[in-house]
């Protein structure tokens, strides 16, 4: 198996796999369910990292998955199972699960609308905030970079069927994913629009975007934008 190639990424993966300290555990990330024969009970394998309703956990690396488009979540589960997206704890967990079941899991978490957990607010320089804001809301025409919101939705909740919401994601996670795209560790369906974007981002751009995103207050109870309501600046395989 091919692993991480940059020290930055290595550090992130390391943090994710090795526990720092015994951490206090929020009650909503402890195994719990009402009925044994339910999707809720079947996805208990996800909850210690992604939270009971996919809201994410109070600390750690793991992303919020609640309310992301089902198509996006399904694509990721398939990619983890097939090994085309690398993250050993996930690759291991879903290795022997059939498509139909992964789809059911994806739809379950896509339908959840739990409250956002309080975010760590990163400390950013004024310049970084300005750069982050520019990239997220307007893009950088000089570098051929479209705005994040052009595809990820005006309220950053993503777009059906395949573009994830960015609201409520930790900076470490966003930095990790953009870096992986840039070094060719993470891919999306061809044409891989995120690859085109990540290739144009510098390290500073990536931390500015991740930091700025974390400073935003996510909309409550919001959903991803409907499919292809707007013409996207780049063609994305996941939207076909």
């Amino acid at each position: 198996m091919k692993f991480v190639t940059t020290p930055l990424l290595g550090a992130i993966l390391f943090c994710a796999v090795v526990p720092v300290e015994a951490q206090s555990q929020a009650a909503d990330a402890t195994p719990a369910f009402r009925k044994l024969d339910s999707v809720e009970a079947r996805v208990q394998g996800c909850v210690t990292c992604h939270g009971q309703q996919g809201q994410g956990t109070a600390n750690g690396y793991f992303p919020r998955i609640a309310g992301k488009p089902a198509g996006y979540l399904y694509n990721q589960l398939i990619a983890f199972r097939n090994g085309t997206r690398h993250y050993p704890p996930m690759n291991y967990l879903v290795a022997y699960l059939p498509d139909a079941y992964l789809k059911e899991m994806a739809e379950h978490f896509a339908a959840q609308r739990p409250a956002y957990s309080p975010q760590e607010r990163p400390v950013l320089s004024a310049a970084a905030v300005a750069r982050g804001q520019m990239l997220v809301t307007a893009g950088d025409p000089k570098k051929g970079l479209p705005a994040c919101i052009a595809c990820h939705g005006a309220n950053l909740m993503g777009m059906e069927p395949g573009i994830p919401g960015l609201a409520g994601l930790r900076p470490a996670y966003v930095v990790g994913q953009l870096t992986r795209w840039r070094v060719g560790e993470r891919h999306a369906a061809e044409p891989d629009c995120m690859k085109r974007i990540a290739n144009r981002l510098t390290d500073e751009d990536i931390s500015a975007v991740a930091g700025y995103l974390a400073l935003q207050t996510p909309a409550t109870n919001a959903s991803p934008e409907p499919s292809n309501l707007v013409r996207m600046p780049f063609a994305c395989g996941s939207q076909r």
Binding site: V17, A32, Q44, G45, P89, Y96, P98, Y101
Partner: protein, 428 residues
């Protein structure tokens, strides 16, 4: 000098001598047979071959992750270096398209490839040798019927001296017994079918019989369990009711476990989940039952009295820490009394997989969690989350100790060092 090193040297010397003699007597290619290849197989024969290829789980090794089935290329890490599994699609250039059924049978039965090369025993020919010619021909017919894929085989990356195939002469002398399965007339037809599947195509011994430093295993220790090299999972003994011996299980519980991956007694995980997913779930009810009958009847080799609870070895504080973690994290699914909610959540009380001597598998399950395979009979399995990021080494050790000694369980305590050693491994 360590005993293993001495043995290795002796064996090495024998092997080199044997290799010298063998050099002049290499098998070479089989003589051309005008009748071959037989490519007018019936649908029935091809279907049978497909089924048997499932039973033999050829696909698991001969397919790269996310690759085309049977096109090979998968890296197989071994203690001797990496092997790359060959393409067995019927491509004339890179696969087995030009092979005859005789050559295919020789590979299965004798571990000698078409070109006359000796195969490394990562290919389970020490087990497949038991497969009948008729069944080998069916598998051959099936493989010839699938789409050919042009994908060149990759050279193995074995360390010296293991990269010299001629040394396998020595290995074969020591560890390979060639011969088709001989039914035992004293046993039922069902038992014999089960024995044929377990010992032959099923190649269960590949993991469930311990291998030594040379990758060899001994008949006398068949199915007694062992660590799986390079995977860090323990394949439990099938001949001890204190491990995965099935003497106390009902036939239904055994067939449930094999076909669906879950049962009222326990759940498959780790490498066994892959076996159920790729192979056992496709078994007919009759064959699953035959395997169950044979496995249940395997002689149990426990000759010491059953151990008593080891709870006395655990300090009250540690026991209390383990209980606390258990109540907070585990009891919801496995219930406070350890009876679980089978088959969705397996029982921990009286679960042989938890109480067996080595705690490796239990620790790994607590650290990494796991989903049983999604199978035809259980397509939506319940799963267990990882706890490695929530519990520290002491807590994992305490809770694993707790489930190994609570409710009259007869396992031994686990310490934080054992947990830490396994924590550094990536889940697989």
């Amino acid at each position: 000098m360590r005993k293993s090193a001495r043995i290795a040297l002796t064996v090495g010397a024998i092997a080199i001598a044997a290799a010298g003699g063998y050099y002049f007597l290499r098998p070479g290619m089989l003589p051309q047979n005008d009748a071959a290849p037989q490519l007018n197989a019936s649908t029935q024969l091809i279907n049978k071959g497909e089924y048997l290829a499932r039973v033999g789980d050829c696909i698991a090794c001969h397919t790269q992750p996310n690759g085309v089935p049977f096109a090979g290329g998968r890296a197989m890490p071994t203690p001797f270096g990496a092997l790359y599994v060959p393409n067995i699609t019927p491509d004339d250039e890179t696969g087995i398209g030009l092979w005859t059924s005789d050559e295919f049978y020789r590979t299965m039965h004798s571990g000698i490839s078409r070109t006359g090369d000796l195969l490394y025993p990562a290919m389970p020919y020490p087990q497949y040798t038991q497969v009948t010619r008729e069944d080998s021909d069916a598998i051959y017919a099936y493989l010839m019927s699938i789409a050919p894929v042009k994908q060149k085989n990759r050279e193995h990356e074995l360390r010296f001296p293991y990269n010299n195939r001629d040394l396998l002469v020595g290995w074969r002398t020591l560890y390979f017994k060639e011969g088709e399965f001989q039914p035992d007339p004293k046993q039922s037809v069902e038992w014999n079918r089960g024995a044929y599947l377990v010992k032959g195509l099923g190649h269960c011994a590949m993991c469930h019989t311990a291998v030594n430093a040379l990758g060899g295993s001994s008949e006398a220790k068949a199915f007694e369990g062992g660590m799986i090299p390079n995977q860090n999972w323990y394949a439990p003994s099938l001949t001890s009711n204190r491990e995965a011996g099935l003497g106390n299980w009902t036939i239904k519980e055994i067939t449930d476990l094999l076909q669906s991956g879950v049962s009222h007694r326990g759940t498959v995980y780790g490498p066994m989940a892959e076996v159920v997913f790729n192979s056992l779930q496709y078994m007919t009810d009759e064959d699953a039952k035959a395997m169950a009958v044979y496995l249940k009847a395997l002689p149990q080799k426990d000759n010491s009295p059953p151990p008593t609870s080891q709870a006395r070895l655990v300090s009250p504080e540690n026991m209390e820490l383990g209980r606390k973690v258990y109540v907070a994290q585990c009891a919801m699914c496995h219930s406070e009394d350890g009876r679980g909610q089978p088959p969705a959540y397996p029982p921990l009380a009286g679960n042989q997989s938890i109480t067996m001597e080595t705690p490796v598998n239990s620790i790994r399950m607590v650290l990494n969690g796991g989903y049983p395979p999604g199978t035809k009979k259980n397509p939506r399995p319940h799963g267990m989350p990882p706890f490695s990021h929530i519990l520290n080494d002491d807590e994992v050790a305490a809770v694993t100790t707790y489930i190994r000694v609570a409710w009259g369980n007869t396992g031994t305590p686990v310490n934080a060092k054992q947990v830490n050693d396994l924590r550094t491994l990536l889940p697989e």
